[in-house]
């Protein structure tokens, strides 16, 4: 029950997280580049990850998400900042003493040990009695559906199976938090879909907090109870998949998650706006325009219509129509030279879209998101 509040409490989730979850406070980390420069991998990150949630850290490469994951694991030392697990401060503990475990991008399975020995390794480090280790290894192999493969070496397994061993090895330690560093990046698309379902299932059955790093926005949306979108060493937005997709806080998030059109809109003294030479319309939410009286509106391609079912936004010339099977992707050129990407859902047989024709692009007010602090 990852998203549900802790039973018997009505306190805000943030307070519960501070007592039970993983709290990161103002984490900073600088790296020296080979060219002699300095990169701010973590530029004051503060996050609260709730107990038992599937938390995804999403961002382009070099945004700091992996550095943060490694700092939680203890494989990277923060320049400053704090990491708490519940009420215990863990950022000063060595990696081997932290109740968190990692599934590495490269799997990092020990090639000289069998599957069962790999899974048992972490338990042997805890000096558990042998029968208990054997039982836990069996249990883990069943959990990740690797029964009967305990005697194999990692080199005798497929990529997907190696992935399962890495998961079993980390979960065998019964960590409070499982850290996953782009674990599906090396798998092909079909396997990746399967493993996504598998990961969700594992997270639900074990109840362990998963912190999952990825640069794949589709993966993030489908997996995460909550998602933190990272850019330049800070999480720019934290929220559910729906919040992040429907209400991106800035142009970066709107652009990185899914596809977005960015329209420069003019604002008049009444607070109305218009795009290019379109009609004046009312804004759904008040917005502070930039110095030159314009504002940037973000709108998803599937929220724009060309069949007149939504109020007119702007007119343009149909530049391109691409048939994608599940939808049509069309491109409309506006008078000012910008072009709009629009996705039309079926049925589109009656639309008679011919390139060069004038089309009326419409959109519901609630689907036009003014972006803060931008024009």
């Amino acid at each position: 029950m990852p998203n549900a509040p802790v039973i018997g409490t009505t306190r805000p989730a943030e307070v519960v997280a501070r007592e039970n979850g993983l709290t990161i406070g103002n984490a900073r980390k600088l790296f020296a580049t080979p060219e002699g420069g300095v990169v701010k991998a973590l530029d004051g990150v503060s996050l609260q990850i709730r107990d038992g949630e599937f938390f995804v850290m999403l961002g382009p490469s070099g945004c700091g998400k992996t550095t943060l994951l490694r700092a939680i694991a203890g494989l990277e030392v923060l320049d400053s900042g704090e990491i708490y697990l519940g009420r215990d401060r863990i950022d000063s503990l060595p990696a081997y003493a932290r109740p968190v475990n990692t599934v590495f991008q490269s799997y990092a399975l020990f090639p000289h040990l069998t599957v069962a020995q790999n899974i048992a390794f972490g338990l042997q480090m805890e000096r558990l009695p042998k029968p208990e280790i054997a039982a836990r290894v069996e249990e883990m192999m069943a959990l990740v559906r690797l029964d009967g493969l305990g005697g194999r070496l990692p080199s005798q397994l497929s990529g997907g199976q190696q992935q399962r061993v890495a998961l079993a090895r980390a979960l065998a330690k019964r960590p409070r938090v499982l850290l996953l560093d782009e674990p599906l990046a090396a798998l092909d698309l079909k396997l990746r879909r399967g493993m996504q379902d598998e990961l969700r299932r594992l997270q639900r059955t074990t109840g362990v907090t998963f912190v999952f790093v990825t640069h794949d926005q589709e993966e993030a949306l489908s997996l995460g109870d909550r998602i933190a979108v990272f850019s330049n060493g800070v999480p720019v937005q934290v929220g559910t998949a729906e919040e992040i997709y429907e209400q991106p806080v800035n142009r970066f998030v709107a652009d990185f998650i899914g596809e977005s059109n960015f329209l420069a809109a003019e604002i008049n003294d009444d607070g109305d706006f218009r795009v290019a030479d379109g009609p004046w319309r009312e804004l759904s939410e008040p917005v502070l325009p930039a110095m030159d009286g314009t504002v940037t509106l973000a709108v998803r391609p599937e929220r724009l219509v060309v069949d007149g079912t939504a109020p007119e936004l702007v007119r343009g010339a149909l530049a391109e129509v691409v048939y994608m099977g599940t939808d049509l992707r069309i491109r409309v050129s506006l008078a000012d030279g910008t072009s709009l990407a629009i996705r039309v859902s079926p049925p589109f047989e009656q639309l008679h879209l011919t390139p060069g024709a004038e089309v009326v692009v419409g959109a519901e007010p609630s689907h036009l998101h003014p972006l803060a602090g931008e024009r």
Binding site: G74, Y96, S106, A108, P111, F121, M125
Partner: protein
Amino acid sequence: MSEPNRGRTPGRLPWFASLPALVIGALFTIGPLAVIVAFSFMTRPAQGGGVVYQFTTDAYRTSLFTKSFNGDLVFNSAYLEVFWRSVVQATISTAICFVLAFPLALWIATRTPRVQNLLVLAVTIPFWTNLLVRTYAWMLVLAKDGVINQASRALGLGEHELLYTDLASQLGLIYTFLPFMVLPLYSSLSGFDFRLAEAGYDLGAHKFTVLRRIILPMARPGIISGSLLVFMPALGSYVQPVLLGGGKVLLIGNLIASQFGDSRNWPFGAALSVIILALLGLCLLGVGLWARRTGTKVSLSL
């Protein structure tokens, strides 16, 4: 169907192109060995060196038995002891070389690629100079008036007998064969994925445990090939025991040398060489069988 054009693969030379290589191999590696094996089964001339072309196994019997006054063969352990001393000295050399080389190889393997190349080059610097010259340098260092004794005197610690001792001989062996241990260890460690060490820490292993349970097992091919590359030449070493050890202790190397020199017993010298060869062959066979059973890859290379 046309006749397959056998032996004419495009881009490949015909078999006789390898003739020069075969001739060189036969002449310079198999040839001398064949001569040694042949000599070991021949008769010692009544006077002087050389051999008489007459088959006998006397030379081999000499290694374990000696003729008593009445002509009976009596067991004689003198040469076995020589073997034993040589094996002990070679084993000590191998063990100490490993202890010294492992941290060095690990350190080199964890540098940046550029620095690694420079350091590997530095390890091979001794190969640029003749072994005898380097051994004489050690004699100068260890001598009565050598650097060490001068320093020791200056510090008021007195003079020490260093040159012409077992210790000097052992030191010389370790010095000579250290690179042969460092290089294979380095090559197996440089391929080590240090993310595996991180995985070890992550799973709760301390540094020493990671070294013992993850790094050492994966460096095993390097450890074996380094150990063989040190042990085998150290077993039959000649220069160090004679020049640094003063030849006071009889080892296989100088025992063999003396058979071809002062003792003028060529067949016995040849037989001793063949025995070492056979022992090392057995050693390699054992390692090979073990490697096949455990699936470890072992290659005898630097």
